[in-house]
């Protein structure tokens, strides 16, 4: 039998170890919770900033909400009628089709050009690279309204530089060519402008990814006799796949929701609905025709479309866990 002193010592020791164990668990829990506390403020901002409008839109899309409601009359609940009206409207589907084609074509072209510029930046010497990067940065940082003003001057019917230069090509008659006359030329113009504005971001992102491709692998492949094309396709692209995936996803989402450039082009001379993409269509229905219920429903449909398009990419990203 242990003496009372030793058993007391044992007790205090076990008490102490119990205390230590409890404290250790508490500290562990606190440490586990610390990251959540840190991001709580940021999540709070996102919830308030984007959650409130999203909830408002979902609610309004089930109501008949017009100008009278804006000034205080109660809104009438009409369930999914707004959605039904939109989804059975041929014009809405035309706008959706146009927006999807526009976004995929422009995103693909942007990606191709961005990749090309990134490879170029990687291959040239310091001075050339710096020049290229600075000019891309300027193009990207220029405020949209300022650059759109210059672009509409460039494509102006009477005094535009584009018409002037193209007219100089023998056999091509571009004298006073009206870019706003048909929706094909209108969207060609819009596509060129949106690509010009998006390429810098893609180029910089891919360039950052390229710097991570290790030199040894490329050298080894060169020793093994791989051509440039094979090197690009089989080594470089697979290694920067995560970057390309993210950049492509962002481009598709942004190009689907493009608004400012199309609206400014429309204001410059072509206001009909054949020149509408989803962004301007929603604006015309909502702020233009003051049918906020339909506009909210259209926005929710665009949100669903965006989630559908990006679902595949997001799942892939999460699976790969790079």
């Amino acid at each position: 039998m242990s003496s009372p002193v030793t058993s007391a010592k044992r007790d205090t020791r076990s008490e102490a170890s119990l205390k230590a164990a409890l404290q250790a668990r508490k500290a562990k829990r606190r440490a586990r919770l610390t990251p959540y506390w840190l991001i709580a403020a940021a999540i709070g901002v996102i919830v308030v900033g984007t959650g409130y409008p999203t909830v408002w839109q979902l609610v309004t899309s089930t109501q008949k909400y017009g100008l009278a409601q804006q000034f205080g009359t109660a809104a009438e609940f009409i369930g999914f009628q707004n959605y039904v009206d939109l989804l059975t409207d041929a014009e809405f589907w035309q706008v959706v089709a146009r927006s999807l084609v526009f976004c995929f074509v422009v995103a693909a072209v942007t990606l191709a050009l961005g990749l090309a510029f990134a490879l170029l930046m990687n291959a040239v010497g310091k001075a050339a690279r710096l020049t290229l990067q600075i000019s891309m940065l300027l193009a990207w940082a220029m405020p949209i309204v300022a650059s759109m003003t210059v672009w509409t001057w460039l494509f102006d019917t009477r005094r535009g530089v584009v018409n002037y230069l193209l007219d100089k090509i023998p056999g091509v008659d571009m004298y006073r060519f009206d870019w706003f006359a048909s929706s094909w030329t209108f969207f060609l113009m819009a596509g060129i402008i949106v690509t010009w504005m998006s390429v810098p971001f893609v180029a910089f992102s891919i360039f950052a990814g390229l710097t991570q491709v290790s030199e040894e692998v490329l050298e080894a492949s060169a020793l093994d006799g791989a051509s440039d094309g094979q090197r690009l396709r089989l080594i470089i692209l697979p290694m920067i796949k995560p970057v390309i995936a993210i950049v492509m996803l962002l481009q598709v989402i942004w190009d689907l929701r493009v608004f400012a450039q199309i609206k400014i082009l429309q204001d410059a001379g072509a206001n009909g609905s054949q020149y509408d993409l989803l962004g301007t269509y929603i604006y015309k229905v909502g702020t233009g025709a003051q049918d906020f219920g339909s506009a909210a429903a259209a926005s929710v449909i665009v949100l669903a479309l965006t989630i559908a398009i990006s679902w595949w990419y997001v799942r892939k990203l999460m699976k790969e866990d790079v």
Binding site: L38, A41, L67, F71, G72, A181
Partner: protein, 454 residues
């Protein structure tokens, strides 16, 4: 233990920053609370508690002298400060929709396009001014504008100014071609066709310009919409409207070089001599009456530079009667055609927190001095007693002649939605591209009618 403390401190700082950023600063809306007890007397000079108020004006039609007069007189009579904010026409509709219901951000008094008045007055955006109506001018006010600002017999928005569209033409071009000022609408179309060359439009009209094109509909007795048993229907398919549209289609095709997607913009740049070719790009244009200030020849100063106005950029243009002339668009059988009645109404926002001060500003605007000043600036005054102050030069005469017969767009409650949706620009563009007028009219009647009755 330290880690979690640092973590908590970081979270607290972040939260503090976020909350500081989120708080809406509405301090600028705090002013002395104006007593609701009406201190207005019926002898014309209203007294109200001194308050700082805001006036919204649309576009640049009200010039700086007029604005300064309003600010000075308001400060003198009320003691508060009047802030005038100018809104561009293109985003004015969106701004009015969002600002008028919001008591913190609403302008106290705002100008509003006359075509938008029925929409906003019928939803209750403006305060009832019926008890001030006689004091502000009563029956001397332009009645067609008063009517669009009335709902159920009460006045909400009153006329501010009117202008109308008239024709400006190149006398020198007409003389060389041997063309006379037309007396009927058909002669006008024939002239335009005769004058058109590859480089110059006989009559410059954008294909999607409905505010000018609508005159051809009105001149043939048609209209855009009418009220049937209390419901508004779009009447583009009405035979008279279709006749007018066909006349417009012929005129555009044979007489204008303007792009088919161009809408109401700045036609006067085409009638001035082009800087590089020295020749005009249009022999005839149709523009609001005050556009004549932008028509004319530029002059060079002693250094050989073009003389510019106060803004340092726009060239000063001087009209010359041997080169330019003006007349009112002739009707189908002579006289003046009914043209689009341009102009604005003005009203007090219903959610304004300074109702009395706002109404005091209204008395200043409708005062004899201000109405005379408006007319002197070339803007048709709301109070028709002062139209003589428009002057007696050729512009004033044409303005009055065209305005006498002018017509407004339908006073349907949803008209602002029709304008905002761009359907009319689209419709006119398709008609002028050479489409089948009757079929297009039926198609667009279906699109426009649902919007009219909100």
């Amino acid at each position: 233990m330290k880690k979690s403390m640092i973590g908590a401190a970081a979270a607290a700082t972040a939260a503090a920053l976020v909350l500081a950023g989120c708080s809406a600063s509405s301090d600028d809306a705090t002013t002395s609370p104006s007593a609701d007890a009406s201190t207005g007397s019926s002898d014309g000079a209203m007294t109200a508690v001194s308050a700082d108020i805001t006036l919204w004006l649309m576009g640049g039609d009200t010039n700086d002298d007029l604005r300064q007069y309003l600010k000075d007189t308001y400060a003198e009579q009320n003691g508060g400060t009047l802030t005038i904010e100018e809104q561009g026409w293109s985003d004015a509709l969106a701004k009015l929709t969002t600002a008028l219901p919001d008591a913190d951000n609403t302008p106290d008094v705002t100008e509003i396009g006359n075509t938008w008045s029925p929409t906003f007055t019928s939803v209750g955006a403006f305060s009832d001014l019926t008890d001030m109506y006689d004091e502000l001018g009563g029956d001397s006010l332009l009645q067609s504008f008063v009517d669009v600002g009335m709902v159920d017999g009460k006045n909400y928005a009153l006329p501010y100014y009117f202008g109308s569209r008239s024709i400006i033409y190149r006398k020198d071009v007409y003389d060389t071609a041997g063309v006379e000022v037309p007396k009927t609408l058909q002669e006008f179309s024939d002239n335009a066709a005769a004058l058109k060359t590859a480089g110059m439009s006989g009559f410059y009209l954008g294909g999607s310009d409905w505010r000018n094109g609508i005159s051809w509909i009105f001149a043939n007795g048609g209209d855009l919409a009418k009220q049937e048993d209390g419901t508004w229907v779009s009447t583009l398919s009405d035979p008279k409207t279709v006749t007018g549209l066909q006349m417009l289609q012929d005129l555009y095709t044979s007489g204008s070089n303007a792009p088919v997607t161009e809408f109401d913009s700045t036609p006067w740049i085409n009638i001035n001599d082009n800087d590089s070719t020295g020749k005009p790009e249009a022999a005839t244009i149709m523009a609001p009456n005050w556009a004549h200030w932008s028509v004319g020849d530029t002059s060079l100063d002693d250094d050989g530079n073009v003389v510019v106005g106060d803004d340092g950029a726009t060239a000063v243009r001087t009209w010359s009667d041997d080169k330019f002339g003006t007349f009112a668009l002739p009707g189908v059988d002579g006289g003046a055609a009914p043209v689009f009645a341009g102009g604005s109404n003005i009203g007090v926002s219903a959610s304004s927190q300074h109702q009395d001060a706002a109404k005091q500003l209204m008395t200043i605007i409708f005062s004899d001095e201000y109405q005379t000043m408006l007319a002197g600036a070339g803007l048709g005054p709301a109070n028709l007693d002062f139209t003589s102050a428009l002057g007696d030069d050729q512009f004033a005469a044409v303005n009055i002649e065209a305005a006498s017969n002018s017509k407004l767009t339908p006073a349907a409650p949803g008209w602002a939605a029709v304008e905002g949706s761009g359907l009319l620009e689209e419709f006119f563009g398709k008609v002028n591209s050479g489409g089948d007028v009757a079929a297009l009219a039926a198609e667009y009647d279906e699109k426009i009618s649902p919007l009219l009755n909100n």
